[in-house]
């Protein structure tokens, strides 16, 4: 049975109610109806996951923003569900990654039920399937104008210390970086950011000269650092961010932890319904 968790989040109420009506119609049309539960101040995503578990539901679908899906991941606590996602937010990063598209595309994807086992990442009690950023990286570049972006990329590098897989320590001067499981852009190198390989990728951006900044700004904004010269790429299962202490680690622009922090991968943990246009 399908259990749909509807979360308004920051979506205006009129738009949310319109989307909710559309969704109900589409679920009936594609014959994938189930129980629909709405998040309220008295019923959090975590409470609704508990209810779904008690009712022995097999498929959980987060309907809302990327944050709704991340809250759902945090609420799973090792329980085994097949997961789906319906984006109600036009700016959804996850819908691109999972190849879902809009509301109609998401419902079609769930009806088609193409399931992939994907890796899950964990940091300080938070779970995610996408990526974490630190320092100057794509979210900063995307959220600022052209000249501000160039200024950010010309800023002073930070002395970074990271320990990998309890095996070796990296010291370097870096502008920023990413710990990636999946990203929203495809790359020529299919081995990087592959969420089914039981590894995550640490991509680190080193200081660039002005010509390089102009030339590779787009790649940096999209997080495709393997195209940027002097970048470091490490495939690993565990990353301990040691120094500089206090440097924020953010997910989709929201700070989730600060250095020192540890990110670990839980291989093939999730059964995820994905679309044919997924990026991996």
């Amino acid at each position: 049975m399908y259990y749909y968790i509807l979360d308004q989040g920051n979506i205006p109420i009129e738009k949310f109610e319109r989307l909710q009506t559309q969704l109900s119609g589409l679920l009936a049309e594609f014959k994938i109806g189930g129980e629909v539960a709405r998040v309220t101040p008295l019923r959090s995503v975590q409470d609704l996951v508990e209810i779904a578990s008690q009712r022995a539901c097999k498929t959980l679908v987060a309907c809302g923003s990327d944050d709704t899906f991340n809250l759902l991941l945090a609420a799973l606590k090792g329980r085994d569900f097949t997961l789906g996602f319906v984006p109600l937010d036009d700016q959804s990063f996850l819908s691109k990654i999972l190849g879902i598209g809009d509301l109609l595309g998401a419902v079609k994807t769930i009806a088609a039920r193409r399931i992939e086992r994907i890796d899950l990442c964990k940091i300080s009690g938070n779970y995610f399937i996408s990526s974490l950023e630190f320092g100057v990286m794509s979210q900063n570049i995307k959220s600022t104008g052209f000249w501000s972006g160039l200024k950010l990329l010309s800023s002073e590098p930070k002395s970074l210390k990271v320990r990998i897989d309890d095996s070796y320590t990296i010291d370097l001067e870096a502008l920023g970086g990413l710990a990636v499981n999946i990203r929203s852009t495809s790359s020529k190198n299919q081995k990087i950011a592959n969420p089914t390989d039981s590894n995550m990728d640490l991509l680190i951006l080193e200081p660039l000269n002005k010509m390089e900044i102009f030339r590779y700004k787009k790649d940096i904004a999209e997080g495709v650092l393997e195209n940027v010269p002097k970048s470091t790429i490490i495939k690993c299962k565990k990353i301990e961010f040691l120094e500089p202490r206090g440097l924020p680690l953010s997910m989709l622009g929201r700070i989730v932890a600060k250095f020192p922090a540890t990110v670990e991968i839980i291989p093939q943990r999730l059964r995820m319904i994905v679309g044919k246009n997924r990026t991996f």
């Binding site: 897989d165 070796y168 370097l172 190198n189 495939k235």
Partner: protein, 132 residues
């Protein structure tokens, strides 16, 4: 072979150590490794390792193939092809199946080559090279 090896590494290196990076410890990988910075410890991969010009390595390297353009202080155990580019400076013993040394490369150590790719062939030729 060399250009193919180069192309493969540039196209699909799974691990890239940038020029300002200093690594201390054991770097293990199941894919190609490209090193442009400094490594102290051990480097191990079943695939190919590319040590770029400017890289400094104080470590033993175990790999499938190797293209060396930087400085290495340590032993190399390569099961396939090993190429010393003109900028290579290697101090240590090497074991490989096929070796190519370009003009200008510097190598000081023992060289052991065997048909089984481990340098342990029964009638393996052995070479010692000192200096340039």
């Amino acid at each position: 072979m060399n250009s193919t090896l180069d192309d493969n590494l540039n196209a699909a290196a799974e691990t890239v150590v940038g020029p300002s990076v200093k690594i201390q410890g054991d770097l293990n990988s199941e894919g190609n490794i490209k090193i442009e910075g400094q490594v102290a410890g051990k480097v191990k991969t079943t695939q190919s390792v590319y040590v770029n010009e400017g890289a400094k390595i104080s470590a033993d390297i175990v790999a499938g193939n190797g293209v060396i353009g930087g400085e290495i202080l340590g032993n190399l155990k390569i099961s396939g092809h090993l190429v010393f580019q003109s900028t290579a400076k290697v101090t240590g013993d090497i074991t490989c199946q096929i070796l190519r040394v370009e003009d200008g490369a510097q190598f000081s150590g023992k060289c052991s080559m065997g048909s089984n790719g481990n340098g342990n062939g029964k009638k393996s030729p052995q070479a010692e090279v000192e200096g340039e």
